[in-house]
Amino acid sequence: MSDTPIYILERTFDAPRELVWRTFTESELLSHWYGPGVETVIHELNVTPGGVWLNEMKMGENSYYQRAEYLEVEAPGRLVWLHSTADAEWNIADNPMMPNWPKVLMTVVTFEENDGKTNMRLTWEPHESSPEEIEVFSQAIAGLDQGWGKGMEMLAELLESLQSG
């Protein structure tokens, strides 16, 4: 489907890509950076096609679980996995915050090295999602990419005028 919305995130890391690759594929390193300001516990990490990454993030009393299943693993340049929210038994579950958020996001990460630095490109797209999930995802990434463009500008003005009025 050509009109599937895709979210793209690009970032350059000041390190060779072998090093960046390790931070995505070694449990101790991955748990160190994944999840800002939360305690991340990796219950399983098997970075091979068909292998899984079972991730728990602890936020106070609560835990948020994610399940990833790897589809493609080509060191040190390309990593593809299916990313989803999970329940405590690691079954794929609805996002507690957003019931119509796509249950499974196909995540593709590529690393290209240039002059000792690594350009990372990360994309997400809904995987086998319902039309409602795709719609919600489209709306969200339209917002992430352009601050909702004109619509968001209008809303920002609106919110401002409400606060000042």
Binding site: L9, R11, F13, D14, A15, L19, V20, R22, T23, L29, H32, W33, Y34, G35, P36, G37, M97, M98, P99, N100, W101, L122, E132, E135, V136, Q139, A140, G143, L144, W148, G151, M152, M154, L155, E157, L158, L159, S161, L162
Partner: protein, 116 residues
């Protein structure tokens, strides 16, 4: 407004007519007739848009059966904006931490290289 309604908010905000209606209502409550005037749209068409906005919790309708003036409720918009921001911040925040980790790893490697 619970967080479970956020997806309705996104869907409601996706339409330019509905966003224009919200802007109109930010200037004060209005009836369907008032709202329809500046749009080249029938009242039933406007009513349909109002229904979507109401289901998303973005407006409230008066109890007066005849007039049912609509009033803006901006709180869900703020919640929607926050959700997007959280999603973005999760990854940006994670990659900030990765930057630091890579720097530390490179330093360790350098020390190893010079000591050997």
């Amino acid at each position: 407004m619970t967080e479970a309604h956020l997806d309705h908010v996104f869907a409601a905000l996706a339409d330019p007519t509905r966003r224009a209606i919200l802007v109109r209502l930010s200037k004060g409550s209005a009836t369907v007739g008032d709202i329809a005037k500046p749009f080249e749209m029938s009242q039933p068409a406007i009513s349909k848009h109002l229904k979507v906005l109401e289901n998303a919790g973005l407006i409230e309708r008066g109890v007066d059966r005849q007039m049912r003036p609509a009033t803006l409720n901006a709180a869900p918009m703020q919640a929607a904006a926050n959700w997007l921001e959280e999603f973005r911040q999760f990854w940006e925040g994670s990659f900030d931490q990765l930057d630091q980790l890579l720097r530390a790893m490179k330093d360790t490697q350098k020390r190893k290289d010079t000591s050997s």
